[in-house]
Symmetry: C2
Subunit: 456 residues, 2 copies
């Protein structure tokens, strides 16, 4: 069937306002925050499960790729229509179906924004822990597809820890229901967590039952400045080795500090070369005890000052602004998201500095240090071929370093398109082949986000 | 190939002390705590991954069932060799490979007992939250295969929440590695949690990387007595609707109380008809605040008394002894493990009482009320055909009630053999067929614990 015939069939499935086929309209659905660009042949905006199913069945019958999409805030190209086909935007399936404080649950459609959910449950005393920087405009469906996390994961875990059940449409258009509406359940395989983090390659999530967490009673802050990265890394390891788990433990290297200093005068101490923003929460006394224990753990050679922070709001705002600031100073950043066991952070962070010097690549590192999850940013000019070559060689060595330290290539961003060339270095061929076989049970014609997540 | 030929090949794979073929020796591997009995043709005791792989490859080549087994403490028949074949006992793969307090992780072989792990990590300030009643003699491998939980799941979650990675052997003898050695990781599908709770039907776990949790600083207790089950259920719902999550919230109905009263004089108040044993943990002040909030939530019509408990050790010992006590008074118990959203516990518990009266079946209910997870025990005499008939009719109505209350048929025991006749009432055919297809990707010849977990 010709593309025109297919599009005409597609147009018959949904009201006219729910199908874009004009390339101009489709443009905004051709990229995500990775800035990789591949245009879809159409964008559809289903309003319910039946419409999702109809689109998938049509695409499956004609072997046309379907690329599910939240708000396109991913950084790894997971929602980019690499193989063309139909972009399936869930943005109009955005109802909060129910909030059930008595059972600490909510049922939502995938297009609900993270922030919308937080706003809806805060009044009844709850939050949903995944909190990526893009929380204000990323969708819960996208959070689930990537198993998103954020600063609070160090204490509260990631998306997979906060979902109880899903409704989803597989690649052949079957509607499946996974999990349960109870806080415990072991009937059948755990397809819920198999779908979480599967980047839209197994099924399209059309409804999710989320577990809600009571808001902490109180919150406290600590900041710590260090003369160098190595001492800061030792403090991170020491903080995580004592029993009080911080609710956030964010690391900024000197490059990141300089970016913030350029924009926010007098916010940060001048002599610090590495910095920790730490949050603790719980009962008032727990905060006092945790603060004391964490200040103690910060007492390493190289500490300039560690102190309780009166008002951390400005600092958090600056931390959240870091990603956009990075774009300002380099036309392109190669943005990685590696994680290592926290005890290996000293080797990782000093190793990253050495590699940046060796390859002469500007390098800004920051991130969720409590999880050993560091956002490594190589700042490059794509027009400089030599720099780009050095950057990719450097990246290769970064990944070797990470894997040698028992780490993983992605802590929270996912594989998408960007990390496909590297993942066979982390996952052996046997296990990858098994994952491919699992995909085909959900999606026999390989139409759901084809190619994503697997080695290139 | 004849059975004798197969056994002779099996005997060549392993040293003589690691293969039982004498039916007398095999007897102890023919049942679990469900008391369902099916003898294996042999029992093997591999010492390492290579030996597990060799056994599975041989069995796969000859399409002989392999039934992996921890310590046989399951209650649903999950490790019973229903289809004959080889019982693969992991009990001799019992090394704690590493304890890594700095990263809050441990790597273990599957045969390590839950209690052995707890003992090994307590000294460095940690525990592993899953704590089934059988913790002293059940294996971690079994805990993972069933996604085990226990009283502390209400605050700390279940087995799947406390495992980071696995090494496993699939049904065709492939060795796979899942997950990572970091607290966050999103590379590839989450096969880790797919294997957890899969009851040995997908792969045999030969190594697990576990997430450890810091021991709570302090622990406090509360007991609450009620004049009837309905008022107690309302108190449970009220406790879970306020923000302080107890670290355990155990319910005992009058039948359970009477069993304990018969064995432990003066431990329990005489007039209580329903009882809560509540534990809180954390900082001292948190315990004070939580205790206050929970005592307040207990103030429902029908409360006799709610008070802080000085010493909860004797109570916990009595609670743990309940399951064996149940065996004393009835030749057979039909032991169910249903869960409902906590807000529906009042309807569930009063409904259970009505059904017991209607079908004239003695009924003892207790369990992890904070998760809405109730162990329903129908006490029956298998020699009384009329009683057995009434019991199974009652059970059918119990399941209907549970599902009508948005519940699940098993909160923590799993499906095994015992619940197979019922699970299609909870999971739709499409989703079950997908699960079956997933199984075949791991186990193409359906040799791993064949039949288990799926509808009969």
């Amino acid at each position: 069937m010709s593309s025109a015939d297919f599009l005409s069939k597609l147009a018959q499935l949904l009201p006219i306002a729910q199908v874009y086929t004009d390339p101009v309209d489709c443009y905004a659905y051709a990229y995500d925050n990775s800035r990789i660009f591949h245009a879809p042949i159409a964008v559809v905006f289903p309003l319910n499960t039946t419409e999702v199913q109809a689109v998938i069945k049509l695409c499956n019958a004609h072997k046309v790729p379907v690329v599910p999409r939240g708000r396109g805030t991913g950084t790894a190209g997971g929602s980019v229509p690499e193989a063309g086909g139909v972009a399936l935007s869930l943005e109009r399936m955005n109802k909060i179906i129910s909030v059930d404080p008595d059972n600490r649950m909510a049922i939502i459609e995938p297009g609900v924004l993270n922030q919308e959910l937080q706003d809806a449950i805060k009044g009844v005393g709850f939050f949903w822990p995944p909190d990526p920087s893009s929380a204000a405009y990323c969708s819960i469906g996208g959070n689930l597809a990537t198993c998103a996390a954020g600063p609070h994961a160090v204490k509260y875990g990631v998306a997979r820890d906060h979902v109880l059940g899903l409704k989803a449409v597989t690649g052949n258009g079957d509607i499946i229901k996974t999990g349960c509406y109870t806080s415990k359940g072991v009937v059948g395989y755990d397809l819920t967590r198999l779908l979480v983090g599967s980047e839209g390659t197994l099924a399209v999530i059309v409804e999710a039952t989320l577990k809600l967490t009571p808001l902490p009673k109180h919150t406290g802050g600590i900041t710590a400045e260090f003369a160098d990265t190595a001492s800061c890394a030792r403090a991170i390891a020491a903080i995580m080795a004592q029993p009080y788990t911080p609710s956030a433990l964010e690391f900024l290297d000197n490059g990141a500090l300089n970016l913030i200093r350029g924009r926010h005068k007098n916010l940060l101490p001048e002599n610090a070369r590495a910095y920790l923003m730490i949050e603790v929460d719980g009962a008032q006394q727990e905060i006092i005890e945790a603060t004391q224990a964490i200040l103690q753990a910060c007492q390493v050679d190289g500490l300039i000052e560690a102190k309780p922070a009166e008002d951390t709001k400005a600092l958090w705002a600056a931390r959240k602004a870091l990603s956009p600031l990075l774009k300002d100073i380099a036309p392109k950043k190669i943005n990685e998201d590696i994680a290592v066991p926290v005890s290996h952070l000293p080797e990782l962070l000093t190793g990253l500095e050495k590699l940046a010097a060796q390859y002469k690549i500007s390098n800004v590192n920051f991130g969720h240090a409590g999880n050993g999850n560091i956002h490594v940013n190589l700042l490059v000019n794509p027009d400089n071929a030599d720099e780009m070559k050095r950057a990719y060689e450097c990246l290769d060595d970064v990944f070797s370093l990470v894997l040698s330290l028992q780490g993983t290539l992605s802590g929270e961003h996912g594989v998408g398109m960007a990390k496909r060339p590297f993942i066979s270095r982390e996952i052996d061929e046997t296990t990858i082949n098994l994952m491919k076989a699992v995909k085909l049970t959900f999606d026999p014609n390989n139409i759901l986000n084809p190619g994503k997540l697997f080695p290139k």
